[in-house]
Every structure is written in structure tokens, then in C-alpha cells.
């Protein structure tokens, strides 16, 4: 029966090509617009570390000693709090993070010096965030303490400096210090660059920068602080620091701490540990707002920072409004199409077809239009994503259609056309056979 309906639908679509084209076009444009924005939304709001995001947590404490807004603790930590918590090693894994830009060149490569983003972090960073390696490996835990002069570099930097060859063991000159490369990452592009997300509550929706590419150079935390002293970005200072070049004792927050906690018992233990630490610091006179601590999970932290740029969310709303209009349009056109064939429907009813059969036939036709619209919508989505990639936004390079979104394109197109077809199909199947036969 389905084959027969399909055959009928094809004939019917062929009969009035302009009307068919209009319907297919309406669905294709609506689907193209909404799938383009939905894909961008999907890429930007996804889970950046799907393998273990449930076990990653972001502790926050409030080291600010001046009055002011203490509703939420600062987004990142001061040096002493971060190092103390990291030293305690109470979590399964823990990584401190501070970022800066560093001047670098490879002494045995004839290229002018480059300014590259550098991340000072601790050894756990790589296994904890599941960072993939191409050559070599991360440095060892003792390298953090010993301030070893070693580095891990990104695939892009390895391509640029060493033409993609295995550069483990080669030397990199960072400012005036030579470091030995111990690892080269595979291309790695988490979306967002979750580990340095902070300050979203002040961003007023302009959060596109959270989707920047990861840094190109990774140094053991204390080595990085030493080598690139004076270049680290500060999140906030609550008093004027004595010396911006050495922020270790400054009343400034500039270091993030991430921890991995495998079970809910460990999470509550760690939360208690952070609270105890804060209370102890208050007793020592270093904190004034000790009770102000948080331990958010990775996804909670991203939500709290509202990482998806407000422009992208707005575009998604707009696209679905657009799809709604295309839906109304298709309902109208389908109604026109089905009612025009009332005579044919009357004959089928008179020959014994049930209302249900006519309804099914109409829906098959609507579905077929949806399939064609989906095909057009898929092409338009590819074009839309190409347009997004031409945009100046930092996340532009991420905009590609994955398998899931490809399938959703067609599912959505057919669902929309079936939805549009319900009302016209109901009207068409209610045709009174006698009345129609008379007019033939």
C-alpha cells in the first residue's frame, strides 16, 4: 500500500510543479536556516570532555578582604590558595592553570621569533582532560616541583616549527630560557576552551572568546611562572599590588584550579575540605569571607558562565521563528493542493477506500515533500555553515555538520512536513464522495 501511495504522491507532485517547488523550497529554506543555527548551537553548547566531564570539578574560594560584592566568590584564585589546595592532593587529580603570551623560537629553525599563547599548568592537566598526544607524553609530577625546563607543544606549533616531524627532545627558546620538548599534542580543539572559562557573569553575553583554540605551549606550572614572570593576565585585584611582575604575594586572583573526583562521596569530601581550608585561612587572618566557597561541576560551571554567546542563542530563536513561518506556508500550500484533488479523492472514497486510507495517502505525499525539502535543507545547511565559517567569530572553524546533525536535518524536515500535512490531510479525507462525483 505504501508503494502505491508513494506512486500516487509522485504523480501528484509532478502534476503541479510550481506548487511542489514552492513547498519544497519553503521547507528547505526553513530547515536550512534552523539547522545551521542549531548545528552552531549544538557545537557550542556541547560537552567539551565527554569521556569524563561528570568527574571534573571547579573549586572556588573567596580571598577578597575588602568590602563589596561577596554574593559569589571570585571566578579564579589567588596564588596561595590555589597552590595550597593543589599541594594537599586531596582529589584524584588536580591541575592549576595560568595563561600568558610568550616569545618563543626554535634555536635550530630559521624562523623569526613568535608570540604564542602559553599555559602554565601541572602534570595532571593532560590525563585529567584526556588530552591526546601525537609524540612523547606529558611531563612527570616531580617535574612540577623541580621546576623542570620541559614543554609540551600543540600540533599546530609543531607543524609550524618542525614541519610536523617528531620534535620530542628538541629545544625551544622561551624568552631567554631553553626548554626541552617532551610531548607533542594531536590536534585538540575542545569546544568551549572549558578550562580557562571564567568571568562569564560580567560578559553580558559576549562570550565568543571562550571558544578560542587551546594554547600552543604548555609548561610545568612553576617553571612557566618563572620563565614568563610579569606576563600573566590578572582576573582581578582587590588592592593595588606592589609588583605586577611577581604576583605570588599579590592581592590578585589569576590562577584556576580543576580537580577530578570519581564519586559523589569524594565530591562531598572535597567540598568539606575546601570549606575547612577556607575556615582555617580565616582563622589565620587571610580570608574574611570564608563561608563563601563553591564546588561546581564542569557543566555547572559552563552553565553558570553562560558560555554560549547570546548572539548565537538569538540566532537560534530567529531561525525557529522562521521555520514556523515556513510551516504555516506549507500548510496553506498543501491545503490548496489536496483540496484541488477533491474529485480524485471522491472517486477513491466511492470505490471503497476508507478515510484512514486517504489520510495516509495525503501524509505520504506530505512526507515525500518533507524528504525533498530535507534534501534541499541539507544543502542549504552546508551553505549556511560555510557562511558561518566565513564569519569573523573565533568559533567559526568549528562549524561543520556531524553525523547526528545530518540525520536530524532529515528527521526534522519530515517531521515538519508531516505536521504541516495533518490538517490538510484531515480536510481532504473528509471529502463527501457523492458531492464530488456529481461535479465530475
Amino acid at each position: 500500500m505504501f508503494g502505491y501511495y508513494l506512486n500516487l504522491a509522485l504523480r501528484s507532485l509532478n502534476r503541479n510543479k510550481v506548487l511542489t517547488a514552492l513547498m519544497v523550497l519553503a521547507i528547505a529554506v526553513g530547515i536550512g536556516a534552523s539547522m545551521t543555527t542549531l548545528t552552531v548551537m549544538h557545537l557550542l553548547s556541547g560537552d567539551p570532555v565527554p569521556t569524563r566531564s561528570g568527574t571534573l570539578f571547579y573549586p572556588q574560594i573567596d580571598p577578597v578582604t575588602v568590602d563589596g560584592n561577596h554574593a559569589e566568590p571570585l571566578d579564579v584564585m589567588d596564588y596561595h590558595s590555589a597552590v595550597d589546595l593543589w599541594h594537599a592532593q586531596r582529589a584524584e587529580r588536580q591541575a592549576m592553570i595560568a595563561s600568558s603570551t610568550i616569545k618563543l623560537r626554535a634555536p635550530d629553525v630559521n624562523l623569526p621569533p613568535l608570540m604564542m599563547p602559553m599555559l602554565a599548568t601541572t602534570a595532571d592537566f593532560f590525563p585529567m582532560f584526556d588530552v591526546p598526544f601525537q609524540y612523547g607524553s606529558a611531563w612527570q609530577a616531580q617535574d612540577d616541583e623541580h621546576r623542570a625546563r620541559v614543554a609540551v607543544i600543540s600540533a599546530q606549533l609543531n607543524d609550524k616549527l618542525f614541519g610536523g616531524a617528531n620534535s620530542v627532545g628538541r629545544t625551544l627558546r622561551l624568552r631567554d630560557t631553553d626548554v626541552r620538548i617532551v610531548g607533542v599534542l594531536k590536534p585538540w580543539r575542545p569546544s568551549p576552551q572549558f578550562y580557562s572559562v571564567a568571568g562569564g557573569r560580567f560578559a553580558h553575553g559576549n562570550t565568543a572568546d571562550y571558544y578560542s583554540k587551546p594554547e600552543d605551549v604548555y609548561l610545568p606550572f612553576f617553571s612557566g611562572l618563572e620563565i614568563n614572570a610579569g606576563s600573566f593576565g590578572v582576573f582581578n585585584c582587590w588592592r593595588v599590588p606592589d609588583d605586577y611582575a611577581h604576583l605570588e604575594n599579590a592581592p590578585c586572583s589569576w590562577i584556576s584550579l580543576w580537580v577530578q573526583l570519581g564519586s559523589s562521596a569524594k565530591v562531598s569530601d572535597y567540598a568539606r575540605f575546601v570549606a575547612d581550608y577556607a575556615a582555617q585561612q580565616k582563622a589565620l587572618g587571610r580570608y574574611t569571607h570564608a563561608e563563601n566557597t563553591r564546588l561546581r561541576s564542569l557543566m555547572q560551571w559552563l552553565d553558570y558562565n553562560r558560555v554560549v554567546p547570546s548572539d548565537v542563542r538569538l540566532q537560534t530563536w530567529l531561525a525557529f521563528g522562521f521555520l514556523g513561518i515556513c510551516l504555516f506556508n506549507t500548510i496553506g500550500l498543501l491545503l490548496a493542493k489536496f483540496l484541488r484533488r477533491a474529485g480524485e479523492m471522491g472517486v477513491r472514497r466511492a470505490l471503497g477506500a476508507t478515510r484512514g486510507a486517504l489520510f495516509a495517502q495525503c501524509l505520504v505525499e506530505a512526507g515525500l515533500i518533507g524528504l525533498l525539502g530535507g534534501l534541499g535543507g541539507w544543502l542549504l545547511t552546508l551553505m549556511g555553515l560555510w557562511l558561518v565559517r566565513q564569519q569573523p567569530a573565533v568559533y567559526a572553524d568549528l562549524a561543520h555538520l556531524d553525523m547526528a546533525m545530518f540525520l536530524i536535518t532529515f528527521v526534522l524536515a519530515i517531521a515538519v512536513s508531516l505536521l504541516a500535512g495533518v490538517l490538510p490531510a484531515l480536510r481532504a479525507s473528509r471529502v463527501a464522495p457523492g458531492l464530488q462525483l456529481k461535479t465530475l
Binding site: 506548487l19 514552492l22 523550497l25 519553503a26 529554506v29 526553513g30 536556516a33 575588602v66 568590602d67 563589596g68 560584592n69 603570551t101 616569545k103 623569526p112 621569533p113 613568535l114 608570540m115 624568552r175 560580567f202 560578559a203 553580558h204 553575553g205 559576549n206 565568543a208 610579569g230 588592592r239 593595588v240 606592589d242 609588583d243 611582575a245 547570546s310 548572539d311 542563542r313 538569538l314 540566532q315 530567529l318 531561525a319 521563528g321 522562521f322 514556523g324 513561518i325 515556513c326 504555516f328 506556508n329 500548510i331 496553506g332 500550500l333 491545503l335 490548496a336 493542493k337 483540496l339 484541488r340 564569519q391 569573523p392 567569530a393 490538517l423 480536510r427
Partner: protein, 407 residues
């Protein structure tokens, strides 16, 4: 033209009529809000900066090496840049408007205040007012003897020694109005951070911040008399000299020290262009969506109109046979479309208001000005009339003889 027969016909085609109405309403709501968004973005793109826009250049060098000789090196750089023919003014600054940095400070008007009155951008650098081309509205600019070196200032601050600290400041009119509404700002005292007192000696018309989180506070900037050596140079020259001067400046700086990395070399126009590139992309997108929406709606009206005409061929023939002119038939369909569009527009305006409320809550957008509604109405009426013209003309072309066939 009689409206009653049209209404009674529409009553028999409720669903089709309703669809046209809903489509027009939704289009009206979205287009009104989208055009409003576009106008907001355009207004933002044309935000006043307060600087001599087409005369400024920026060169930024990475300052690497021992910190001690920074100020001497900066003085050499400035002297070398001043020698370039065509350069009218040079300054070593901490940041440039729209350049995306963010060096700010909380400002209090009373030392004992718990929370800051506002947060303002702090511009450092001797000669900054001349180089930026700022416009004074009251008082005076900062003079050479107001300025102190940043390292001296820091040491003085730590030591609690008032002698080495900056004492005066120049603030924007917007900031003055916010701090002391309706009062003269000159001579008043503000506190930067928690405890650095500064006296307002001048008020400038405009000076926009380097990063803008909230457009309402975009002009909260102040000049603080501190000399900096961050390697950020602002150079002012005549608009037509910019390319040559930029090239010459890079050469001079390279000569002075060939090992420095150039981080930025650009005109201020480029800075502005880059700052608003997302707004410009969004504007393009919104305009594209509006056009597509209107086209889809027009196509829908054409499709349904054609169907309606085909369905009523015989009635039209009868009317023609009974003496209706082609003009009557044409007007019938045009009036019908006008009626549907009007109902749609009325509904659409209510919907537009609703969408605007949603945007106000979630996207910090202001209220939709009332003037957008009649504008949207006119556009949709026009589109409806243009779209229905084709089907209506076809209807008018139906010959009266149709009435005699196969009734």
C-alpha cells in the same frame, strides 16, 4: 468596493484565511523585532569614540627583557617616532579605545563608601590627550608636571608617600554626570581603587573604553597622569599620511632595537572595524533573514492566491457574465488580501510586543519603539498587495464565457 461579500466568502474558507493571517502575523512580529535589532546594532557600530578616528595609528611591541631600562627605551622610541615627518603627536599609552584590553578601576566619591560608585577605564600615558585628539569641555588637560612614572607611583603607593603619587585626573562628561548629576565636576575629588585620591581638573566630551560590556557605561573613562612603558604607541598624523608614517615608524623602532616582536601595527580605523565585526556580521544575518522571511511570506500569498483563483474560476465567470468589470474582480482580490493582511498585522503587533518583552528579559534589549509597528504594517501591506497582484490579474482575465460552460 463592498466588503461584506468578501467577509462572507472568507467565512467559508476559515482555515485558509487563518493560515494567511497567522503567517502575516508571525512575519510582522519577527520582522519588526529583527529590524529593531538591526537598528540597535547600527547605532552601536556608529558609537562615538571621542578620538581623532582617521588620524591615529597603533604600534605595539612585546616588551621583553630587564624591566629596569623600559622607561629609558620608551623615551628613545618616542623621540625617534617624533622625528618622522608628518607625525603630529606621539604617546606611550597603556591601552587604546576599542582595542579590547581592559585596564579599569573602581571609582568612589567618598573614601568610606562600601561599594564603588562605578567602574571606569583608566588611560595612562603622557601626551595622550593631544595624540588621541580629545575634546575638552571644562577645565584643563593634564600637564607635564602632573605626570609621574608608574614605578615611582607604585613605590610611593606602597610606602604611603603622597609625594610620588598622581594627584589630578581628567574624566569624561558621561562619568561626571553619573558621579555628580547636574553639578560642576571640576575641583571634586574621586578615589581610584580603594584609596588613591585624585582631583578632577578637566572634563572631556567623549572617550570610549577599550572593551564594552554594557553600552550604557561605554563612555566611563578617565585620564590618569601616569607615564607607562608597555610598548604601546599611539601615533597621530594626517589621514593621507598614515600608510607612509606607519611604515616609517616600524623601521625606526626596528632600528632602535631589532629583537623586539611587533604585536600590532594598524590604523585606528582597523581597530574600530575589528571591534564591531561581530555586530556587522549579525546585522548582515538579520537583514538576510528579514528579506528571506518577506520573500517566503510573499510566495505563500502567491500560492494560496493562485489556488483561490483557480477554485473560484466559475464564480468569477458568473460575476463577469452578470456585468462585473475586470477592475471589479481585480479589486475584489486586492481588498480581500488587504483585509487579511490588516487582521494579520494587528495580531502581529501584539505578537511583536510579546517577542520584544522576551528579548528585553533575556537579551537586555530596550523596549520596541512604537514607530516600528506602523512601519512594519506598511511593509506587509505592500508585500501583500504585490504578491496578490499576479493571481488577481489572472482572475481578472477569466472570460465571462466560463460561466456558460459545464455548470
Amino acid at each position: 468596493m463592498d466588503i461584506l461579500p468578501i467577509l462572507s466568502t472568507l467565512r467559508r474558507h476559515k482555515i485558509t484565511a487563518l493560515l494567511v493571517i497567522l503567517e502575516i502575523a508571525l512575519t510582522c512580529a519577527i520582522v519588526c523585532n529583527a529590524v529593531f535589532l538591526v537598528s540597535q546594532r547600527l547605532e552601536r557600530i556608529h558609537m562615538v569614540s571621542g578620538v581623532a578616528e582617521h588620524e591615529l595609528l597603533e604600534v605595539e611591541l612585546a616588551n621583553i627583557g630587564p624591566k629596569a631600562d623600559d622607561s629609558a627605551r620608551t623615551a628613545e622610541d618616542l623621540a625617534a617616532l617624533r622625528q618622522i615627518p608628518g607625525v603630529t603627536s606621539v604617546a606611550s599609552v597603556n591601552q587604546l579605545p576599542f582595542a579590547n584590553s581592559s585596564n579599569n578601576s573602581g571609582i568612589k566619591i567618598d573614601r568610606k563608601q562600601n561599594k564603588s560608585s562605578l567602574n571606569a577605564t583608566t588611560y595612562y600615558g603622557e601626551n595622550i590627550a593631544d595624540t588621541f585628539g580629545l575634546q575638552l569641555v571644562a577645565g584643563r588637560f593634564l600637564k607635564a608636571d602632573d605626570y609621574v612614572d608608574i614605578d615611582t607611583a607604585k613605590k610611593a603607593f606602597v610606602a604611603g608617600d603622597a609625594k610620588g603619587l598622581p594627584k589630578n585626573t581628567v574624566i569624561t562628561l558621561a562619568m561626571a554626570e553619573r558621579l555628580w548629576p547636574g553639578q560642576q565636576a571640576l575641583g571634586k575629588q574621586i578615589y581610584m581603587g580603594n584609596d588613591l585620591p585624585l582631583t578632577v581638573v578637566g572634563v572631556i566630551k567623549n572617550l570610549v573604553r577599550p572593551s564594552i560590556w554594557d553600552d550604557a557605561t561605554a563612555q566611563y573613562s578617565m585620564l590618569v597622569p601616569i607615564q607607562v612603558s608597555d610598548g604601546v604607541y599611539a601615533i597621530r598624523t594626517a589621514p593621507q599620511e598614515r600608510d607612509r608614517v606607519l611604515k616609517a615608524a616600524l623601521e625606526k623602532l626596528k632600528q632602535a632595537n631589532p629583537h623586539r616582536v611587533v604585536l600590532q601595527k594598524r590604523t585606528w580605523d582597523e581597530i574600530r572595524e575589528k571591534f564591531f565585526q561581530n555586530d556587522r556580521a549579525m546585522t548582515g544575518l538579520l537583514v538576510g533573514v528579514c528579506v528571506a522571511l518577506l520573500v517566503v511570506t510573499a510566495l505563500g500569498i502567491v500560492g494560496l492566491g493562485s489556488f483561490w483563483v483557480a477554485q473560484r474560476r466559475r464564480q468569477i465567470g458568473v460575476r463577469r457574465a452578470l456585468g462585473a468589470t475586470r477592475g471589479n474582480i481585480l479589486h475584489y482580490f486586492q481588498t480581500e488580501n488587504f483585509l487579511l493582511a490588516t487582521i494579520g498585522i494587528v495580531l502581529g503587533m501584539a505578537l511583536a510586543y510579546g517577542v520584544n518583552l522576551f528579548l528585553m528579559v533575556h537579551y537586555e534589549l530596550p523596549r520596541l519603539p512604537v514607530m516600528y509597528l506602523p512601519l512594519g504594517a506598511v511593509v506587509l501591506w505592500l508585500i501583500g498587495q504585490v504578491a496578490v497582484l499576479g493571481p488577481a490579474m489572472r482572475a481578472a482575465a477569466v472570460p465571462p464565457v466560463v460561466a456558460t460552460r459545464s455548470v
